[in-house]
Amino acid sequence: MTRIDLAIIGAGPAGMEAAATARETGLSVLLIDEQPEPGGQIWRAIECNVSERPDNLVFLGPDYAAGAARAERFRASGANYWPSAMVWHLDNPETGDKTALVAWDGVTRQVQARSVLLATGAMERPVPIPGWTLPGVMSIGAAQTMLKSSGLYPEAPLVLAGSGPLLLLFAVQCHAAGIPISAVLDTTPAGAMTRGLPHLPKALLGWRTLLKGRRLMQALASSGIPVYRHVRNLEALGADSVERVRCTSDGQTVEIEATTLLLHEGVVPNPQLTRLIGCEHRWNAAQRCFHPMLSDRGETSVPGVFVAGDGGGIGGAPAAENTGRIAALEIAEELGAVNRPSGDIEIVKARDNLRAQMAVRPLLDAMYPPPDWIGKLDGDVLVCRCEEVSARAVRGAVADGAPGPNQAKAFLRAGMGPCQGRMCGLTVTEILADAHGKEPDAIGYYRIRPPIKPVTVGELAALDGAD
C-alpha cells in the first residue's frame, strides 16, 4: 500500500503543474497516468519527439514544443510517478483517506491519499453519424495522436469533417507535414462571425488565443485544401471499411471518396472518475455536456476531491495549468503543508491568468456551437457502439417507460459494454431529454461503477497490501 498526501490522476498540463506546485509546498505527491510518458493528450509523446524525432516539432508547432519544458519541470519536481498505470476504482470512505486501486506493472496497488486531484482532462465528443463504426472512421484526436506518437498518417484520400479549433489545427499540421487532405467538411453553422462578434470585446483579454485562431484560419485558407462549408447530414459509406463520405453543404449533396474519415465536434470533460466517486454535475447548455460542480478552489461536492483542467470544464492547456496550480496551493493550505511562501499572492496571480484565458470561451462557444442534431437522432444510426444500440431503440425505451439513462441501460444494454457509456452517455442523455421534453439536468447520466477499466485476473489476484 502507498500512503501519500496528494494523489493526482492524469499527467497533462493540469496534473503536471499541480504536481510540481504541490512538491514546492512540501506535500508528498503521486501522479498516476495511463500514458508511458508525461504530457497528456496535448503534449502526447513530447519527450520522445524532442529526443528521437526533432524534425516533427516543426510541423507540430511551437505550442506543442512548449510541452518539453513542462515535462522537464515535472520530472525534476520529486513527485512519485506511475506511468502506464490505470486507476480502476476510486473510493471515498466516510472517514479517513481516499483509496485508489491502480493496475500498474501487472499488479493492483492500493493508494491511500489525504487529497485527490482529478486531472483526467477532456475527450472528444462522440459523433454518432451513420457509418461511424466502419473501420477507417476515427476521431481527429486519434489521428493526431498517431502522428505525434508514431509519425503515422492516413493515406489519401483523407477527409476531415466537423468543427472547432482542433480540426483547424490538425488540418494545418497535416498540410505543413506534406500530408494530403482531399477535403475539409466544415460543419460550423453559417454566421460564425456574427455569432462571435458580441463576445469579441470581452474575448480580447485572451488575445493570444484569438491571434492563434486567426493564424490557423489563414493557414487553412491559403493551403488550397478544398473546404465545404455549412455541412450537415454527414454519412460514412462503405462495405467493410469507409469508401465514401456523403453530406450536404449549403443544401447541396456532396459525395467524396475517402479511405479515412476523421470526425471532430469539440471536446467535453471525461466524466468517468468524477461520476464514479459521486461528484455532483450540472449540464452546460452552451457546450452541451455535463460539468462537475466545482468551488473556486477547484473542489468537487465530495470533500477532499478536486478537479483541475479540462475535466472540470473546457479551457485549454494554459487554463488547465492555472487550475492545476490553484488546486495544488489550496490543497497545500488545507493539508497544512510546511512550505507555502507567498501562497496567497501566487493564487491571486493564477486566478488573474485564468480569467484572461477563459475570456475567449464564450466567443468560441458562439462561433463553434456543439451539434444541435444529436438529441434529435432517430433510426438505425448506432448510438452505443459496444452493444450496437440504435437511436430508434433509445427512443423506444422512452415509450417503454424509461425515465432516464439507467433504465434505458437496463432495457437495452446501452452503456453496458466495455466503454461503460463513455461513447454513448451524452447521446443517450440528449435523446432522452428530447423525447421527454425535459432538460438534460432532469434526465441525468449513467451511474458509473467500478472497475472503470478492464482488470485482468492476474492484476486482481495480485492486489498488494489489501489485507
Partner: protein, 106 residues
C-alpha cells in the same frame, strides 16, 4: 491505410498478429502498430460480429480491445508494442471474469 513519416532513428520491433510476423517502431502502441502494418480491423463485436477498428487512440472508446500474450480485453492503444509480443484479433466477447463483467455493467 496509414503511412509513416521518415524516421531515421526508429528502432524496429518484431511481433506477431494471429501468428503472422509484423514489424512496428519502438514507442508504437499495439493499436498504432497494427494500423501501421495495414491491419484494418482489430476486433469483431460480440453482438453482430461486425469488424471494428480503433476510434479514439486515447483509452475511451474500447474499440481497440485485443488479445495480447494470451490476455484478452487489453486496450491496444494503451499498451506499448514489444519485441516478441503475440497479438491476436479479438473475436466477440472473450472471458471477462464473470463477476466483474456483471458489476461493471450494472
Amino acid at each position: 491505410m496509414f503511412r509513416r513519416l521518415p524516421d531515421p532513428r526508429a528502432r524496429a520491433v518484431h511481433f506477431t498478429f494471429d501468428g503472422e510476423a509484423l514489424t512496428a517502431n519502438s514507442g508504437d502502441s499495439v493499436a498504432a502498430a497494427l494500423l501501421g502494418a495495414g491491419i484494418e480491423h482489430s476486433r469483431t463485436t460480440p453482438k453482430s460480429g461486425t469488424a471494428r477498428a480503433p476510434y479514439c487512440m486515447m483509452g475511451v472508446c474500447f474499440e481497440c480491445l485485443i488479445e495480447i500474450d494470451g490476455v484478452a480485453n487489453r486496450q491496444g492503444c494503451l499498451v506499448e508494442v514489444r519485441d516478441g509480443m503475440a497479438v491476436r484479433r479479438q473475436q466477440g466477447a472473450p472471458g471477462l471474469p464473470e463477476d466483474l463483467a456483471d458489476e461493471g455493467g450494472q
